[in-house]
Symmetry: C2
């Protein structure tokens, strides 16, 4: 396989974009990425999306966007892996370019969620769980995560406030990201007093949904000539893995084995270890997922995920900065787009474009996108050079 | 890229499988393909499906099936391109194996359509069209195809009965395919008198929906040792292309430009011309599509597609056998599975397993899968050797 580089990035603000159609929202990120790369066409388009059939009555998003942005004739397809759809689309594009089958690809993650009522969105999100064995029993996604968090707190003796640093850090970082959905600093007191959603998960443990799109242009690394003031960014690791769909089917519901395996595959391909990672855009859909991801990827011992937050190691100036642009918690979680936001944000860090939340000297960044409750996990590692 | 071979195939009958869940239906084809290949695990799973979020309330089908068939840990993803989802999944798997990223992949197309009422299915199928510019105006899929057929008849002077050979051939061939949905011979008289659906398309111009799943195992060709009595089957051409989503946006609505481009890409990769093709599993969702596909792929002059049927050249003993196992018209059209049925059927022909509809000495077969009204087209060419 040949090496693949990320040449351009684009994104919209995560928001309630009632004034923009699905087409316009995704198109905006695509055009921004093309412009950033200085290109006006690519060989192929890969779209990551989870909910458009249910929310917008639209399938065939590959050709839908290809048509809208004027890439007629080119190959285009949609990839879906629940909330992991964005990174799954990037991985499909990565293999297309790495194999030599295409010379350039546009990968966009897009999700329009706020055009339907909340209960419709909750039902649509539940299609990521097992319809027969989970949803039919009445559990929602937050319900499943609440069961996991409660068990984790019981097993390892953490109290709810111990998870606060994950949300406080995410909100503090989002203040400096104009594309983040939420721009409000939160305190430990606010975190503790926030409205309960599904015990022990309260509103400040959970990420907000939203409309958004984020895109990258990928090309063979050997074709990238240096742009003044910008490092070349190589997609040097890509790994995917799966677990059981239903959490209750797992031998150990407190270990994200697919996150572990997918990270290991990405580390191996990129020839790095967890110690080499300068920043980690993790999948903090709920604060419990931050703790479990850190453990699964080798950044914390089993049961010790919250420690990194309590010791201030996850802040931009810490040992392992996470959610440097706000994460799912504060940048927002437009589900099928989230994985592409994470990758775009890692690129911004490696380019040194992150202002007050810039990680000093960042050269190797990791993004991990999770579909379902740890069921499908895709990890990418980006390097300058 | 390294060459890719198809080592195993599996399929269910296309039918109303009310006794089988989505899991069981797809699983049956997966297990059959694994058994046929003599394998019990693969590195990756690619699922082609269009409607499960809308019909079965289930997303994340990659991991869903990976979990069900016991492939825990392995990579899995769903690919969607409307009725072209099956072949789009095969193309994603092809690039994964060809790139060297995985050593084996299971590709399954699966669709469960008959668990909902007919009007719900019609609405779900319409998500392949443009929600804003086509569906909102009230056209269904058969309506769009009827407009195209009427214009084609006007432009080239064909009458409705001239399309009969496509359906008569498909039904005659399906009689010998135990997995076909419809087992009934039809006559020209029946074709002409069939109930009208959307003028000029009547019931015998249109393919029936159904529940079904079809799967293949792909591996690097260099790893395939010969099995006694079975030729090695190489996936020697793979090409994808797109057109506008809406038919009214096309410069020429009577030419399937994406079918043309995708076939050309597959011919070039396989180093063959249309004259080399021994049989062609084309996408006869409606009889007009048979004519247009033959023209776009270089088997007939513009406006002369029906000629091949009228001259008996499309029968198993003809110059270019099509729909040798019944095609979409009589084997049935479980939308996201159809592309994989076509490929499985080409393999059966190249293995010489087709009994009364066997194409003598078949060595090169082509399958073309279409999403929307010619919007996304994926073509595969298979060769023995």
């Amino acid at each position: 396989m040949r090496q693949v580089a990320i040449l351009g990035i684009g994104q919209t603000k995560v928001d309630e974009h009632w004034d923009k159609s699905l087409k316009e929202l995704g198109g905006e990120a695509c055009f921004a990425a093309l412009q950033d790369a200085g290109m006006n066409k690519v060989d192929a388009l890969f779209v990551g999306n989870m909910l458009s059939p249910l929310i917008s009555g639209q399938n065939q998003l590959g050709t839908f966007f290809s048509d809208w942005i004027g890439l007629w004739g080119h190959e285009a397809v949609k990839v879906e892996a629940a909330c992991g759809s964005g990174a799954a689309a990037l991985r499909a594009g990565f293999m297309a370019v790495a194999s030599g089958e295409v010379e350039s690809a546009l990968v966009v993650g897009v999700e329009k969620m706020t055009d339907k009522a909340g209960h419709d969105v909750t039902a649509a999100l539940a299609t990521a769980a097992d319809a027969d064995y989970e949803v039919e029993q009445g559990v929602s996604f937050v319900g499943i995560n609440a069961l996991v968090m409660r068990r984790y707190m019981h097993e390892y003796g953490w109290k709810h406030a111990d998870f606060a640093p994950f949300s406080i850090n995410a909100h503090a970082n989002a203040l400096h990201n104009p594309n983040a959905r939420l721009h409000m600093k939160i305190s430990l007191e606010q975190f503790e007093k926030s409205s309960m959603v599904a015990t022990p998960i309260n509103l400040l443990d959970a990420s907000p949904i939203g409309d958004g799109a984020a895109a990258v242009i990928i090309v063979p690394a050997e074709k990238v000539t240096s742009v003044p003031g910008r490092p070349r960014i190589v997609l040097s690791g890509s790994g995917a893995a799966t677990d059981t769909i239903a959490v209750h089917s797992r031998k150990d519901p407190l270990f994200l084995s697919a996150a572990h395996t997918s990270a290991k595959r990405a580390y191996d391909m990129a020839s790095v270890t967890p110690q080499d990672i300068d920043l980690f855009e993790l999948h903090d859909a709920f604060s419990i997922m931050s703790a479990l991801s850190l453990e699964a990827c080798g950044f914390a011992e089993r049961g010790q995920g919250p420690r990194l937050g309590l010791d201030n190691e996850i802040r931009p100036e810490g040992r392992l900065p996470v959610c440097t642009r706000g994460g799912l918690k504060a940048r927002g979680h437009p589900v099928g787009a989230t994985g592409m936001y994470q990758v775009v944000e890692v690129v911004q860090q490696l380019r040194g474009e992150c202002g007050q939340t810039q990680v000093d000297g960042a050269k190797i960044g990791m993004a991990q996108n999770i579909g379902g409750s740890g069921a499908t996990v895709i990890t990418h590692i980006l390097k300058t050079g």
